[in-house]
């Protein structure tokens, strides 16, 4: 299946009640696929057909998500970089109001209108909050079409467990990529109770209010402390993959498509007797700091590969904390680095290491 379609199919199987969207390349297929499939295959809690709505803008769409999520529905929204920028208002409000939903960003090159070619330029936006105020989203970075499927389930699990918007940070290439996938059975993700949802106030309970307004600073600080506590708890969800790290001298760190390219470069390097390993962060937030910190004591150097000007490399440097040199290789603006380019970088680092021994 194609990445975008696999994602959409997974959303149906995850039992979404509603999807709100606005067309943008390279992920319009998600909206198109769901427009075709959702009416017959998804149901609301009252048994009526699931909701698919093409909104007037991403701003409208994300605020529809706010309303629907606040009313207790399982909701997904997807877009690409410029559209995700427009959604930041709603995402910040949902982080504060503690509403679960799944936001998918199939990134394209920027800044501005940029290009429709794949990029990883929204790492900062995704992992450091994105909108105003102190908040984070759990961020999952798929590197295959299978993970596009799996992370829809994982994304909803995290969103509902922690009552927060969660994000899948993919890129245009993954959205268009064709790969074999195993799909989970339909409706295999249980619905948690949402006693806080605004569904109409029965006499038996106090009214439910969904809000991000806490006008007294003492109360607002309390809410912030609650959020920070939640983000600390979320650290236990950290996920990453290690490839050939046991004997590695040079450690690559890369996520998503860059990780696939880096893995290819790793194989080429090993053919040349350069011992390279790879850490692939799967959750970008929480970030796999510990494994990178531990590895930094065992390797001579670290090379971070990204499709941007160097964003995740800042988190890698924080993890490495000066224990070894950290290098960066990146392409921008929709350009994808080739395994050979990464290999050249590895060879240059290797030559330097040789020299210094």
């Amino acid at each position: 299946m194609k990445g975008n379609e696999a994602l959409a199919e997974a959303a149906i199987r995850a039992g979404i009640h509603a999807y709100f969207g606005y067309p943008i390349t390279p992920q319009s297929e998600v909206l198109e696929y769901l427009a075709l499939e959702m009416p017959k295959r998804t149901k609301l809690l009252n048994g009526q057909n699931g909701v698919l709505l093409q909104a007037e803008s991403e701003l409208g769409a994300i605020n529809m998500v706010y309303g629907a999520a606040g009313a207790g529905a399982r909701v997904m929204i997807s877009s690409s970089s410029p559209g995700i920028s427009l959604m930041q208002e709603g995402i910040s409000y949902m982080a504060s109001a503690q509403l679960p939903c799944l936001v998918v960003n199939v990134m394209r090159g920027g800044p501005g209108l940029g290009t429709i070619q794949p990029s990883q330029g929204d790492y900062f936006q995704a992992t450091k909050g994105g909108g105003h105020g102190d908040y984070h989203l759990p961020v999952l970075a798929p590197a295959s079409v299978q993970e596009m499927v799996d992370f829809v389930f994982e994304g909803f699990r995290l969103a509902e467990k922690y009552r927060t918007p969660a994000m899948i940070l993919a890129d245009g290439a993954l959205g268009q990529m064709m790969e074999k996938v195993t799909l989970p059975p339909e409706h295999s993700l249980p619905y948690p109770e949402k006693p806080w949802a605004t569904t109409g106030k029965p006499k038996s309970r106090e009214r439910n209010i969904v809000t991000s307004l806490f006008i007294e600073p003492e109360r607002m600080e309390e809410i912030n402390l609650q959020l920070q506590h939640k983000y600390r708890r979320m650290q236990q969800e950290v996920r990453y993959e290690t490839i050939e790290t046991a004997d590695a001298e040079i450690l690559l760190v890369a996520f998503g498509l860059s990780a696939r390219i880096s893995q290819k470069a790793l194989e080429l390097a090993r053919e040349r007797d350069i011992r390279v390993g790879l850490v692939r962060p799967i959750t970008l937030y929480p970030f796999p700091t510990e494994i990178i910190a531990a590895m930094s004591h065992r390797v001579s150097s670290v090379l971070t590969v990204e499709m941007n000007a160097g964003q995740m490399v800042e988190d890698v440097r924080l993890a490495v904390n000066g224990h070894c040199p950290v290098y960066f290789k990146g392409r921008m603006g929709g350009m994808v680095p080739s395994p050979e380019e990464v290999l050249a970088e590895i060879e240059a680092i290797d030559a330097q290491v040789e020299k210094s021994v």
């Binding site: 605020n63 569904t199 109409g200």
Partner: protein
């Protein structure tokens, strides 16, 4: 309390606070129309017996704390997004009643897009639009509905067409949309006006029950603080200056 009980002993009870209102004291300025509009809406909700099935959406504006006063489930929307939030709620809870309550800045400036499109889609929601011709909450700046010549803190020489364009008659505009089922313009400053507005709110919820599309009730109101007038002066000024620009009455009524 005992003093109050003694003072009212023997008097006829003519109005009782609906149970759909909380006991929280309102923060509105003396003479402000927001308070009256709130209790009217909640009175209608109670009388129609829909309090367990209604979800309200509060805006950003002076009525941002509407949910402190309305004893029902509510959501607080970002500035201007109430119609989108109401859409989201109503779409996933199609058997419930949903209303938005919005000021002129919220509905007709920053939220124009969300408003027009929700109505044009014929969302089954009731939109209560409080037009006081000013941004009350932020201290009296120009609103899209500020009338020509009106002095505000950002139009210190009066609103001038060359500079700021014309007052936006958003209600006239939405009445043209096929998704709008019922569009009316009312007030809440006299007993007679209150009765008409209440009737309009009942119709709005009734049409929603029948899934007829969007109902839109503009309430031409005041802002004594923002206008820098006493409550009585403000109501006079409203009648003399606002009503000619925003004449009261129905703009679109269903042919039934």
């Amino acid at each position: 309390m005992q003093e109050i009980a003694a003072a009212i002993n023997g008097l006829e009870l003519v109005w009782k606070k609906p149970a759909t209102m909380t006991d929280t004291p309102m923060h509105y300025c003396p003479g402000c129309g927001h308070g009256v509009a709130h209790w009217l809406l909640m009175e209608v909700v109670q009388e129609m017996g829909i309090e367990e099935n209604v979800i309200g959406v509060a805006p950003v504006g002076c009525s941002v704390f509407a949910y402190n006063y309305m004893n029902i489930d509510m959501q607080e929307a970002a500035h201007g997004r109430a119609c989108a939030v109401a859409t989201g709620i109503r779409r996933v809870l199609p058997d419930k009643f949903v209303f938005s309550y919005q000021g002129d800045g919220d509905l007709a400036a920053i939220g124009t897009g969300e408003t027009i499109h929700a109505i044009n889609r014929g969302e089954n929601i009731l939109i209560v639009f409080i037009n006081n011709g000013i941004y009350g909450m932020t201290g009296g700046q120009m609103a899209p509905t500020t009338i020509l010549g009106q002095v505000t803190s950002t139009t210190p020489f009066g609103r001038d067409v060359a500079q700021m364009g014309y007052p936006l008659k958003i209600t006239d505009l939405v009445a043209h949309l096929p998704g709008a089922y019922y569009v009316t313009r009312q007030a809440v400053h006299t007993a007679a006006a209150v009765r008409k507005t209440k009737k309009a709110m009942q119709l709005g919820f009734e049409y929603q029950r029948r899934k007829k599309g969007a109902s839109f009730i503009e309430i031409v109101s005041n802002c004594p603080s923002g206008w820098k007038l006493t409550p009585a002066e403000a109501n006079d000024w409203m009648e003399k200056n606002m009503f000619p620009n925003y004449p009261l009455g129905d703009l679109k009524v269903p042919k039934e």
